[in-house]
């Protein structure tokens, strides 16, 4: 029996989507967490190599594999609880659709990841790609209450729950967030929500990078706490010069007070955007990263942001940059060779700054790896965890790369 016949027998004809795969790898779309478990249990028995896909808009669907497992039919939203500010959604739900359902119930997921609006929730969690709102609301892991995932040998494992505080058992949710699928296919996600902000205002200032870096420092020193505080390269912002964009979100009183504080701290240099202009700025910037073949993030310290931007400019160029200087997080997009990326990662490692490759064609990510070489003593821990969750090495994930 062929692989496809086996899958059809297991999950039914509608689960197999051969025509849509550009590289001829059979694509299977299980419609439930149990079906994912069934499929991966069989993959383990048969020795199939599996690549994990969402909507296919962030990580390219190009890893060599025997089959592609897409979460696109895991698209239900079992619960939205406005009174508890929590929701439960399957991993394959598109974020645009989820966002709309949440807004209809007066709630908000304070994440603005890079990529197209229809990126799946599972993709965002698996790659831990937060956007500018990480300044005010933290990284992806801070928005998760729990996940259910399926291991490489077909076990359904649950972690966390749907309440906002939970220390029952080890925090496998944080392990899954940002592991790029190395420890399992995330199928169900419990989310921490916020009330839809009553006021949401973006203000911008154009200038030289040096000038805006100083302004960003002044803002942080003044104790202003924006939801987003992002330094964007001219190409990303579609402006002549660099752009510092500040976003305040919350109650009307808070946003008004923060705006007044910003005016006082910067001499009224920032220009407020209309709501549609603000929305468009953030959305276009996020989508720009999906149009570049490579994206990575680095996590430095606030006082090293300028030095790190210089380094990027020198080694890989600074055409597509989005940085949160007040927390030291930088995202870079563009095109870069394997050698350049490896050299940059080595340089950054010398500065104690990790580089996580978020997006690249398979030849690049398999050579560079999402994480590269681990620090001393950490490699055996990660290898042990991979053996635990994927004993048959079913998942095709370029975690370490070929160093």
């Amino acid at each position: 029996m062929s692989l496809l016949d086996r899958v059809r027998a297991l999950l039914g004809d509608e689960a197999v989507d051969v025509a849509a795969t550009p590289d001829g790898v059979p694509r299977v779309a299980p419609a439930s967490p149990d079906a994912v478990a069934l499929l991966l249990g069989t993959a383990r028995e048969e020795g199939w190599r599996v690549r994990i896909e969402g909507a296919g808009t962030w990580l390219a669907a190009d890893a060599p594999a025997d089959l592609a497992l897409t979460t696109r039919r895991l698209d239900k939203i079992p619960a939205i609880e406005p009174q508890d500010l929590s929701a439960t959604a399957e991993a394959g739900i598109g974020c645009d659709l989820l966002r709309q359902h949440l807004a209809d119930r007066g709630t908000w997921l304070a994440l603005d990841p890079p990529g197209l609006a229809g990126r799946t929730l599972g993709s965002i969690v698996a790659t831990a790609t937060a956007g500018p709102l990480r300044q005010g609301f933290g990284p992806v892991r801070d928005h998760l209450l729990g996940v259910t995932f399926v291991t490489g040998d077909g076990r359904l494992v649950q972690s966390g729950g749907r309440v906002v505080k939970n220390v029952a058992g080890y925090d496998l949710t944080r392990l899954e967030a940002g592991a790029f699928g190395a420890f399992g296919v995330i199928v169900l996600i419990h989310l921490r929500l916020r009330a839809l902000p009553r006021a949401d205002q973006t203000l911008v200032l154009e200038g030289s990078r040096e000038d805006l870096t100083q302004v960003a420092e002044d803002i942080a020193a003044a104790g202003i706490q924006p939801a987003a505080h992002e330094l964007m390269s001219p190409a990303l912002a579609r402006r002549e010069r660099w752009l510092l964009a500040i976003r305040f979100a919350g109650s009307g009183a808070l946003v008004a007070a923060e705006e007044a504080g910003l005016r006082a701290a910067t001499g009224g240099r920032f220009a407020p955007l209309r709501a549609d202009e603000g929305h468009s700025l953030w959305m276009r910037a996020a989508e720009s990263f999906a149009a570049r073949p490579v994206a990575f993030r680095i996590g430095g310290l606030p006082d090293s942001s300028d030095e790190l931007l210089d380094l990027l400019q020198h080694q890989v160029g600074d055409e597509w940059i989005s940085a949160s200087p007040a927390i030291g997080a930088i995202r870079w997009g563009g095109d870069a060779t394997i050698d350049r990326l490896k050299r940059l990662r080595r340089t950054l490692a010398g500065l104690e700054v990790p580089l996580t490759l978020e997006r690249a064609p398979w030849p690049v990510r398999s050579a560079v790896g999402h994480f590269g070489a681990y620090r001393e003593g950490v490699g055996p821990l990660v290898a042990g965890l991979r053996r635990t969750f994927d004993p048959g090495e079913a998942f095709v994930v370029a975690a370490e790369g070929a160093e």
Binding site: L10, D34, A35, L38, G41, D84, L85, G106, A128, G138, D153, G154, L156, V157, Q158, S159, G161, K165, V167, A168, G169, Y170, D171, R174, A177, G178, A179, A195, P197, G223, G250, S251, G252, A253, L254, A257, E258, G261, I298, G299, L301, P302, I327, G328, A329, V353, P354, T356, F371, Y374, R375, E376, V378, L381, V382, L385, T388, P391, G392, A399
Partner: protein, 497 residues
């Protein structure tokens, strides 16, 4: 072994005499008691590493312990284990105001870090009620919470990097000062692992600016249900208070009868203590006015806004010392910990009251209402025959109630020994087995804090090929069977080694 330990830390810091070891036989929970075989108090990270290596070579189990304020029996060691007490590792190694972070040793007392950071306009936000005694290392092990975690997040949100001595004495560095992991988020996995993955010897935490404006409100209610409903209304208002705490009448009276009397109305069925903070006086005042209106619209009999810092501190002192005040009610106090969806608070609080009445027990509630994080406290005298068993049975029913409401069995105290038996109510055999397998990656021999967190008997076998049985397997509720499982969580004196 004792001689070698003495060579490492000095004879003064190795405790072998029974009266000395008895000092460490309990933590903050009175219902579990274990006497450690040896107690050792290292004074530096190098000494910790040397001890762990020695015990690794000898194949001996050990338990890391901070100040012993935990409430799950999590830092207790049996007679065959060495207790490594980390309170002498109490140095704040660095405060980096520019980058808003601090590097500390595990034995630093929580509140000391905030005091040290205050001159820089910064604070360490997680504030467990025991913050004047508990250590940052213990907070990391338990992923501790506190009242102000409603707005600012629990310990895991604030830990950036760790240096960890693994079970065999190898030392690894996890995370980075900027918070971006080097690979998978092993810091996130380590925090809350209750000492099962090794000993944190150095901890890098995030500091946050001290709020420039604060408003503290005390609302009182004539029914517990109304107070619970007001909590949901506050959360739904879109304004996130820094803290939203509830105390019921039994707790209010205990506080008012103590030296910590805060001026809570003694006839109230419940009070809510709400705090708003931020960087702008006008904004905080406006948000506080909104919350005050919400509280009044949802049944508050009166709302008091603290007039000054002194009154605010008094209101908070009553809350923070409530557990101590309740300790005066009877000889023993079991502080329980569970979380429910916030919208279920009114129903769950009523059910808990019914459970207490059915067992003839005094149950007081003081808890983090904004998070739905309950602390039903049972006051009792453990010397009364049969009373411990009733406390145990009532606790089990309370846990089952919280799980049935969609909640969990612990929000900040951890599993330790106390909650082991409830884990199968929450997790199926595969999920528990996954946790145990993860533990084996860090500690293959299960020597670090053995017997905690994961109930081994409930784990499904992990190794081997899974058969394709998922669609057909039974998903019967594990609640009934787990509650029928014989156990002895409340250790008797006879059980002490």
């Amino acid at each position: 072994m004792v001689d070698t330990l003495a060579d490492i830390v000095g004879p003064r810091h190795v405790r072998t005499a029974l009266p000395e070891r008895l000092t460490y036989a309990k933590d903050g929970l009175p219902t579990h008691r274990r006497v450690p075989g040896v107690v050792v108090l290292p004074g530096s990270r190098d000494e910790v590493i040397a001890i762990v290596r020695l015990l690794g070579a000898l194949g001996m189990p050990f338990v890391p312990r901070g100040a012993g304020t935990g409430l799950s029996g999590g830092a207790l060691a049996d007679g065959d284990a060495v207790l490594i007490v980390l309170t002498r590792l109490n140095r704040i190694l660095k405060i980096d105001a520019r980058n808003r972070l601090a590097v500390v040793e595990p034995g630093v007392v929580n509140v000391r870090l905030s005091l040290a950071a205050a001159p820089h306009g910064l604070q360490y936000t997680p504030d467990p009620s025991s913050q004047t005694a508990c250590t940052i290392g213990g907070n990391v092990a338990e992923n501790a919470g506190g009242p102000h975690c409603l707005k600012y997040g629990v310990t895991a949100t604030h830990v950036l990097a760790l240096e960890v001595a693994l079970a065999d004495g190898r030392v690894v560095e996890l995370g980075s000062p900027g918070g971006e992991p080097w690979g998978p988020d092993l810091v996130g996995l380590f925090v809350g692992s209750e000492g099962n993955f090794g000993v944190a010897t150095r901890i890098t935490v995030r500091l946050l600016p001290i709020a420039r404006a604060v408003r503290t409100l005390l609302a009182d209610f004539t029914s517990l249900r109304t107070a619970g409903e007001a909590v949901s209304a506050v959360i739904a208002s879109g304004i996130v208070p820094a803290a939203l705490e509830m105390m019921d009448q039994s707790c209010i009276r205990a506080v008012e009868d103590s030296v910590y009397a805060a001026g809570y109305p003694r006839d109230a069925a419940a009070v809510l203590l709400a705090e708003l903070d931020g960087g702008h006086e006008a904004a905080v005042a406006a948000d506080a006015a909104t919350i005050e209106a919400v509280l009044r619209a949802h049944g508050a009999r009166s709302v008091l806004v603290a007039a000054d810092a002194q009154q605010r501190e008094r209101l908070w002192l009553g809350r923070k010392k409530a557990f101590g005040a309740m300790g005066r009610l009877s000889r023993d106090l079991v502080v329980q910990d569970a979380v429910v969806p916030r919208s279920t608070l009114p129903d769950v609080l009523e059910t808990i009251a019914r459970i207490g009445a059915a067992y003839g027990l005094t149950v007081s509630n003081v808890f983090h209402a904004g998070d739905g994080n309950l602390h039903p406290n049972i006051s009792f005298d453990g010397r009364t025959p049969g009373l411990r068993e009733r406390v145990e049975a009532a606790s089990a029913e309370i846990m089952a109630t919280c799980i049935a409401a969609g909640g969990t069995i612990t929000g900040e105290h951890g599993i330790g020994l106390d909650k082991l038996r409830y884990m199968p109510l929450l997790f199926d055999g595969d999920s528990l087995a996954a946790m145990r397998a993860v533990r084996h990656v860090w500690d293959p021999e299960e020597r670090v804090n053995p017997g905690k967190v994961v109930p081994v008997h409930a784990c499904r076998e992990w190794s081997g090929v899974r058969s394709a049985e998922w669609g057909m397997r039974s998903r019967g509720s594990p609640v009934d069977s787990a509650l029928r499982t014989p156990h002895s969580a409340l250790d008797s004196e006879a059980g002490v080694r």
